[in-house]
């Protein structure tokens, strides 16, 4: 089914429930109990990352001199995830054909075809692709094809990540298309 995830930036409180749900959904056992045992293989496709509280808090970077400060100054949390772009730069860059945009509009990844060249990482302007270093391939959001509501959306208790499904999405796309001529 066609679906689309929308993020309401203001609503994310950085609880990271979505990350855990995503990792579990994509873990071999797909079970909550074994998630810890699986974690090596269970990488989340969505990342909660933070902006800086204040840009001036950024540690001074002194290249080549002394030890750089690495303390993290936390600020507002933002979910970073794949947008299944209309003109996906990652697909354009993928030289093995592992990444394709399917008929439903989802940008999907075939781990068997991936050679770990990181061309897609170089191309995605949102940094939405992660490396799975154990297997030397990438992982990315697949919009949970096996379920109607993606796992991250189901897990989000604040309504920061919402999903639009099927017909409603068609209608929305039509109105967008009409709007832009």
């Amino acid at each position: 089914m066609k679906k689309k995830i929308i993020v309401k930036l203001d609503k994310c409180i950085g609880c990271r429930s979505c990350e855990i749900a995503c990792a579990r959904e994509h873990s071999p056992s797909r079970s909550g109990e074994r998630i810890t045992a699986d974690t090596k293989k269970a990488l989340s496709r969505i990342s909660i990352r933070t902006g800086l509280a204040n840009p001036t808090d950024a540690p001074e970077m002194r290249p080549k001199k002394g030890k750089p400060k690495t303390e993290i100054v936390t600020g507002k949390a933002y979910p970073i995830r794949c947008r299944h772009c209309d003109d996906p730069k990652c697909v354009e860059a993928c030289m093995s054909g592992a990444l394709i945009k399917n008929e439903e509009g989802t940008v999907i990844h075939d781990p068997d075809k991936c050679v770990g060249c990181w061309m897609c990482i170089m191309a995605c302007p949102y940094g939405a692709i992660k490396r799975d270093l154990d297997n030397k391939i990438i992982v990315k959001c697949d919009l949970c094809p096996q379920r109607d509501t993606p796992a991250c959306v189901e897990a989000c208790k604040t309504g920061a990540i919402v999903c639009i499904l099927g017909e409603r999405l068609e209608r929305e796309n039509e109105s967008i298309a009409e709007g832009s001529g």
Binding site: R49, G51, A58, M61, K89, S96, M122, A123, C124, P125
Partner: protein, 439 residues
């Protein structure tokens, strides 16, 4: 279009198509996809002098190493042509283009008519004029056939000299090494990856190669290939001779412009195209390694011979061929190489020299982690970036380059290991409303 098609019928052609594409690789397939986004039915023929289905030449080194096979080297599925309603004409070379009456002639004499034509003939490796360059054991790496031949020669215990320390040379060296071949990389410049990487980055990559058993010699040339019929050794500019069985020329490529030139299409180093990927002849387009198209940073015409550019240019040309009006923003050099698990990505203008004024360079290196990052700025806008070790943010830099976003106020943040798109959002650096909504 009707009129020209009527004209073609009268000429008694063997076949005619709305779109004819010469080249079955990145730019050619990008073109198919561009056309099909706009025109689901118009007839398309794709012609290639190679017999293979859509194989990826970037995977040829992986093929040598045995990481991909005849199936996985394809970058589109087997039923691709049928699904996209494309007629493949494979194993046939185009020998002439007749732009005045809209047809091409193949090596078997067939005449194929078109309403619009795409030239995506790519480039060919250069074999330099040195004594012995035709001996058995001398190879180039560009095609599937090249890869097959090298793969046969790459038997454990053999020794190889790779001439050239660019992407192709290093990928070839890596593949040969994986096959148990002892490898020397001989580079004319003072560093490897001299087209894209800066000195410091190149030094890290060189160390990585050497630590893993690949020998690198910079500021050295191969002056002669010695041997009876077969390669036995090479003589270097240092006077030294290196015993070897395999020599690979990986010192650059030249665009395949012959066909276009003969047809009176404007060429310089490559085929000259405008921002719609159109040549000086209105219904003939060119894209990919053969096309000299706009450079994003300088605005001048240049060839960035890389896969993503070829796909994007092909796609834009295809959309324009199908009647859209899509402009090319320009190409940016970018490269990604993973050497023995060390990832490195270089994007844009990474090496301003002394004579280039007005650039600001910031950088940071953590040697024990093999982390290196460098950002080149001009008037507060990123024009180049290098990421080694930690590469996840590379695409974010590419995005900022393309948006010409002013990053002055977060310059230091760019060098943090944890730099990511959240920092861009957090600092309100760019307006990003796509897929976002406020509560």
């Amino acid at each position: 279009m009707r009129a020209s098609q009527r004209g073609l019928v009268e000429m008694n052609l063997d076949a005619q198509y709305k779109y004819v594409i010469i080249g079955n690789s990145a730019a050619g397939i990008g073109c198919v996809e561009g056309i099909r986004k706009v025109d689901k039915e118009g007839s398309i023929a794709i012609i290639s002098d190679e017999k293979m289905h859509t194989y990826s030449r970037c995977l040829t080194s992986y093929y040598i190493a045995g990481v991909v096979d005849d199936e996985k080297i394809l970058f589109r599925p087997k039923d691709y042509y049928a699904k996209k309603k494309v007629t493949p004409i494979l194993g046939r070379k185009v020998v002439k283009i007749f732009p005045n009456d809209n047809h091409v002639v193949l090596d078997d004499g067939a005449r194929i008519g078109y309403s619009s034509l795409m030239i995506a003939t790519g480039a060919s490796p250069v074999i330099y004029d040195i004594p012995g360059n035709n001996k058995q054991g001398v190879f180039v790496l560009r095609t599937y056939e090249d890869a097959r031949r090298i793969s046969e020669a790459a038997v454990p215990g053999k020794r190889a000299v790779v001439m050239g320390g660019g992407l192709v040379g290093l990928k070839a060296a890596d593949a040969l090494h994986a096959k148990g071949v002892e490898v020397w990389v001989i580079v004319t410049s003072p560093q490897i990856m001299s087209q894209t990487m800066d000195r410091e980055g190149a030094e890290i990559l060189r160390k990585q190669l050497e630590e893993n058993g690949i020998k690198v010699m910079t500021e050295t040339n191969v002056e002669e290939i010695i041997g009876n019929k077969k390669v036995e050794a090479v003589r270097l500019s240092t006077g030294q001779t290196l015993t070897c069985d395999i020599v690979i020329f990986a010192k650059g490529v030249r665009p395949n412009i012959g066909l276009a030139k003969d047809a009176g299409i404007e060429t310089d180093y490559g085929i000259l195209v405008d921002t719609h990927m159109k040549t000086n002849i209105p219904n003939i387009y060119a894209a990919g390694d053969v096309a000299e198209a706009k450079d994003f940073i300088t605005g001048e015409r240049y060839i960035h011979a890389i896969w993503p550019n070829a796909v994007e240019q092909g796609c834009i040309a295809g959309k324009n061929m199908a009647g859209c009006d899509v402009e090319y923003a320009g190409g940016i050099a970018m490269n990604s190489v993973d050497l023995f698990g060390l990832a490195s990505i270089a994007i844009g203008f990474t090496r301003p020299r002394g004579k280039d004024h007005g650039y600001e360079i910031i950088g940071r290196s953590i040697p024990e982690k093999k982390f290196y990052r460098k950002i080149v700025l001009k008037d507060g806008v990123i024009v180049g970036a290098i990421c080694i070790g930690e590469v996840e943010a590379a695409g974010v830099f590419a995005g900022l380059i393309k948006r010409r976003a002013n990053v002055s106020k977060i310059k230091d943040i760019l060098l943090r290991e944890d730099f990511d798109y959240a920092k861009v959002l957090g600092e309100g650096l760019i307006e990003d409303t796509s897929d976002f909504a406020t509560a």
